[in-house]
Amino acid sequence: VSAERLAQQAGRFRDAAKRSLADGHRQAAIDTGTERLRTGRLHAWSALDDAQALRHRARAIRTRTIDELDLHLGTFTRAVEELGGHVRVCGTAADACAYVTDVCRRADARLVAKSKSMATEEIGLNGALEAAGLRVVETDLGEYLIQLGGGHPEHIVAPAIDLTRADAAAALSAAEQRPVEPELDELMLAARRQLRDVFKTADVGVTGANFAVAETGSICLVTNEGNADLVTALPRVHVVILGLERLVPTLAELTPLLRLLARSGTGQPLTTYTTLLTGPRRAGERDGPEELHVVVLDNGRSQLRGTRYREMLNCIRCGACLNVCPVYRKTGGAAYGPVYSGPMGAVLVPLLTGLEHAPSLPHASSLCGACTEACPVGIPLHELLLDLRRDLVEQRIGSPLERLVLSLWSYAWSTPRGYRLSTRLARLGVRLATVAGPGRTWAAARTLPRFARTRFRDRR
């Protein structure tokens, strides 16, 4: 798995977080953004009278689908092929990029229009296509702004959550080579102007897939902008990057997932454009792609089946866990790495890349459980983070100092004498920790326990 694509360089969460914390402009943008999304979700959920039942049903659907994934992948593949589409299962990011590059080359393509897809970010598709000489343009407004600025998505649903209207105006003005006013309507119209030609002249449209329905061979895409619809209506070729785990057996089972995705992601009853694409253009139709390629991306997913982390495959990428996470809301997405962030990223990235490439991420949590509470499919995110910390210790990946301290502690408490000594020293230790030593940062942010003057065992 492409560790370098997903993981924070050398796992330095702390450094990246510090930079973020020092940037007040960024802090304000992330705070406002996550708060709007969080309250939107709470409002939308409160309007449901069967919220918990819906959540249980969605969790059951996801769990059963992952258990029977091979069956549903078989059904999906047959359905797509019967309609004249192509399905290719790719084990690694490199396989997937090579296949898509080849499709573009055979289509004699020059311009690729994309709708927002975290799976394509995961495999570094834009870079691969650009290396092959293609021009790739993101059409989701947030992703377009990020592409103009040369950054990475800060949030899996709201990629430009850290940008203000002034930032957007700067990017769009540079692209248009004339000043664009930092007014929301002006900014939006500038993006519309700039992207209109891209939709009309692109040779290939690339999308992710929010879901794929096995029984009908349909790809389900949700956007508020309608850009995925344009990307799949006008270009000659449509390439889908489908995460292996996003299959849904039947259309009937898609309904609860769509309702939860929209409510949890942006607080809407249904996303503005919820579109099901079933096969390429048919005889007599005016538009739609002549060629359809579905890349089913494994990239480390199938190895999670049958492990205690299997529930992470239930994730529908709604972003709710990011918006409630006290750590994400301070650090933003960049600290976690260039692609996935927040609690879902802190669990998923180490699982996909190997813990040794992302050793800081399991610690990027206060374990408060807000993520687990917010998750619409009931993934116990904070418990999985704790399990990952246990793995860090078992695989001896954690810091050597931490390991030394813990083994000394464990040794001390294995004898009555050691235990007695440690409780005698505790009062002193707490005081020392606040003054100096490696524990100072830790102690500074916490209320430490006050020890009694006389230990209980010494009282007569």
């Binding site: 953004g33 947030g142 209207r165 309507d185 508020n224 309608g226 619809d229 344009l230 079933t278 139709e285």
Partner: protein, 136 residues
Amino acid sequence: LSALVHDFLASAEAAGCTTQLGAGVELRDLPTVRAAFALADTGSVVFAPAPEQGRADWLDAETLVVLVPADRILPGLDELFAAVRERMPSALAIVTGPSRTADIEQTLVVGVHGPRELHVVVLEDEPPNHRVGSTS
């Protein structure tokens, strides 16, 4: 007015559409598309390709008039999926309100790619050969 029509009109308004019952003269010069279905609970209009209507027709216009025959209004997604399951069209677009984005400062603006304005016209009991608004 049937309960479904009533609910659909209310939900479509809530989703940011303007609505009316029966076609008005003032809509004749605007790009017009016909919805294959509509959903009462979310106020969505549902499009599918037809010989006289491509995908670009419901995506391209800045102001779009959507004709919804009253008998095509369904309660919600479950009924829609049950209706199309046997014969899935190549594209089934469930559109709830005008195109929108909140990508800048998480503040809503409409019309980023698709229509900025969506006028929904519910047609009751019209004879199939006298359909109004066929300007496209």
